[in-house]
């Protein structure tokens, strides 16, 4: 801050040319004592309340009184609006609270900008004086004493007193020292009050966040029965979470479930989480196709959500009656399916997240794979870091799952979560598990495996894993024969993808594996597609067994199918008129040792 003595000297010089005099310094010790007690009183008054307006008015009143001025006002700088606004005023016929001046205008404006005290003994002779305030308040200003206020070197405003009550209406030189001291005291009080108010605001926000977190926790469902096959766990990184999971029983008695992750963290993500989960609960009660549900959610979110935010989600339906599962994935981490004997199938990610583009279509995959369980996680799990700073990823998650398998599915999930919680987490952690228990069925004439996926190369691995798991868990064939059958199925699926659909078409691939009720136990694998109907003559040529010497390039797959399977046939009756083929492969199991 500028040395006030220097300022008053300058002022005296400038005013001396006007032939006016400022009263000589005449400080009596009693006055100094009074001044110090006023500063102490003011400090006490300022610290006793958080009502900034009342405090400033009262403080200002005492300053005006002490300096024997007719009126006074306290001005604060509004950096955003570039204005200087009167926050408190005393004396004068009407209050000038709320009156504003453009920054840098008037005596008060100059005082703040130049960070120095201003003494004006005759305002009529000062070009900086603005009439505006006098006009607003019907007050006639003659002399002004103005001192700047600052916090940590930053200007925040000024205090000014007007018209000394003495006959000459002039302020004394000590008055400027006093006003400066009082202005500092007021500045400190304002600073304290601002900090206190910010703290109070933060406290309010914290309380409200805690309430929001409580409501958010209540949105997440808990298992409906002790042996309910679906369970979810969510541990937020902050108070509120952008992760979600949900499950419920739909109108058909099936279990609908979902997991999702809203982009970003914090309150905006948690609001979108609440919206997404509420919509899911509403829609999933009556919709039995996860892909349709995601389509509706996507349109709604894309329409209403602020730009740049999106939600990744997996929605699914599990029918405990039939054991069938249907999944659809909108850009979420690939679901992890734990097959019998602890092997895993990673189900691919599918379409883009919800909320990016409206009118999108989502793909579905369906399967019947008893004795397996599905693990759905958010990236808070896969990106959790171990002691060496390595990310867990899906591979690490598999190890944690394997280490925690127990008889009760809910115990397994709790133990997995406890292990993940020990890692360094940087994001919300959410885990949803769905258990597909083993099923007892009659031995013959039954469906062993039933799945439906998009006919894409990235789904072949899942098909192979599903076929292999089914053959091995049924103990129908040796491991070697299982390898052969898996290969034949893979080759048949490849043909559908490469030659059936080709580059111009897209569609689904359905696989049904059955044990036929015949004199010789026979494995039937039926593949259905939605590709253009094949020409029967070409099929006949292809299905004819040929020696390897005759195999044309690219015909290796058919050769392998014939090597492994006993009978291959195109089921004419089950083909569509223009689209849709049905291809059946049969293998007598007794012949296999």
């Amino acid at each position: 801050m500028t040395d006030p003595t220097e300022v008053i000297d300058t002022s005296m010089e400038s005013t001396a040319t006007d032939g006016q005099n400022i009263a000589a310094a005449d400080i009596r010790s009693s006055e100094i004592g009074d001044a110090f007690s006023l500063v102490a009183d003011l400090a006490a008054a300022f610290s006793s309340t958080l009502d900034i307006q009342t405090t400033l008015e009262k403080g200002l009143e005492r300053i005006v009184d002490f300096l024997q001025a007719e009126a006074g006002s306290l001005w604060l700088l509004d950096e955003d609006e570039n204005l200087v606004i009167c926050e408190a005023s005393v004396g004068g016929e009407s209050s000038i609270n709320g009156v504003s001046l453009p920054r840098g205008e008037g005596i008060v404006g100059h005082c703040i900008e130049e960070d120095e005290c201003k003494v004006v003994l005759d305002v009529s002779k000062d070009p900086d004086f603005t009439q505006k305030v006098d006009e607003d308040s019907s007050f006639i200003t003659r002399s002004i004493l103005c001192a700047p206020m600052e916090i940590s070197g930053q200007p925040i405003g000024a205090v000014q007193v007007l018209n000394h009550k003495s006959e000459d209406r002039c302020f004394k030189s000590d008055d400027i020292h006093l006003l400066q001291m009082l202005a500092s005291s007021a500045a400190l009080a304002i600073s304290n009050m601002r900090m206190a108010s910010a703290l109070a605001d933060a406290e309010t926000v914290k309380r409200e966040l805690a309430l929001a977190a409580e409501i958010q926790r209540d949105l997440l469902p808990t298992p409906l029965t002790d042996d309910f096959p679906v369970m979810g766990i969510n541990i937020p990184a902050r108070t509120v979470s952008g992760d979600l999971y949900g499950f419920l029983i739909n109108h058909l008695g099936q279990i609908a479930f979902c997991i999702g992750d809203v982009s970003g963290k914090g309150i905006n993500a948690s609001l979108l989480m609440a919206k997404t989960l509420s919509l899911f609960h509403c829609l999933a009660k009556y919709m039995d196709r996860p892909a349709d549900l995601l389509k509706m959610l996507n349109d709604e979110i894309a329409e209403s959500v602020s730009r740049g935010m999106f939600v990744t989600m997996v929605a699914g339906i599990y029918d405990p009656e039939t054991g069938r599962v249907c999944l659809s994935n909108a850009g979420h981490e690939p679901p992890l399916l734990r097959l019998a004997e602890g092997r895993y199938a990673m189900l691919n990610a599918g379409a883009m997240p919800l909320g990016i583009l409206p009118k999108m279509d989502f793909q579905e995959m369906e399967f019947y794979l008893p004795d397996s369980s599905l693990y759905l996680v958010t990236d808070g799990v896969t990106e959790a870091k171990d002691e060496s700073g390595e990310e867990l990823e899906l591979k690490g998650l598999q190890k944690i799952i394997d280490a925690n398998i127990s008889d009760k599915f809910t115990d397994t999930l709790r133990a997995i979560t406890a292990d993940i919680s020990k890692l360094e987490l940087r994001d919300d952690l959410t885990l949803l598990g769905v258990d597909f228990p083993d099923r007892e069925l009659t031995r013959k004439g039954r469906v062993l495996l039933d799945l439906k996926v998009m006919a894409e190369p990235e789904n072949l691995k899942f098909i192979r894993q599903a076929v292999e798991q089914t053959l091995l868990r049924e103990n129908m064939v040796s491991e070697l024969v299982a390898t052969d059958i898996v290969l034949a199925v893979d080759e048949a699926c490849q043909n559908i993808i490469r030659h059936g659909y080709g580059d111009d078409h897209k569609g689904s691939l359905v696989l049904e594996m059955e044990l036929l009720d015949e004199s010789t136990p026979t494995l039937s694998i039926l593949l259905r597609d939605e590709a253009p109907r094949m020409d029967p003559e070409i099929i006949a040529q292809h299905l004819e067994k040929r020696s390897l010497d005759e195999v044309a390039p690219g015909g290796l797959g058919l050769h392998i199918i014939h090597q492994v399977m006993d009978i291959c046939k195109h089921l004419e009756d089950e083909c569509g008129e223009k689209f849709g083929n049905a291809f059946q492969m049969l293998k007598a199991l007794e012949a296999v040792k």
Partner: protein, 106 residues
């Protein structure tokens, strides 16, 4: 496709990892053809659990390319499943197959 390429005893040894199926075989084909230059090629399949006809086809192409350039070609460290696929395809006699990299004759 995970892979590693090393030069060992004057051979280019290509270590492949993961399943080589319709999804991955285009990448494998590209990788093999790019690395057939002027040295014999050895493909290590120790970390490959599965190949299908499209994977086999890329090996056939690599074998033919090597023969065309008069370079040696060998496959090593085949898992029982991979061996079985070559047997079913009746191509197990077509490829020079050895137990490990060290067994490939110079």
């Amino acid at each position: 496709m995970d892979s590693e390429i090393k030069e060992e005893n004057g051979n280019v040894v290509i270590y492949l990892k993961g399943d080589i199926d319709l999804e991955k075989s285009p990448l494998v084909r590209k990788l093999l053809l790019e690395n057939i230059k002027d040295k014999p090629v050895v493909i290590s399949l120790e970390e490959v659990d599965y190949i299908d006809s499209s994977g086999v086809a890329s090996f056939v192409e690599a074998l033919q390319t090597c023969k065309g350039k008069n370079l040696g070609f060998a496959m090593v460290s085949l898992s029982p499943k991979v061996k079985r696929v070559l047997e079913v395809a009746r191509l197990d006699k077509v490829f020079p197959i050895y137990d490990g990299v060290a067994d490939v004759p110079a």
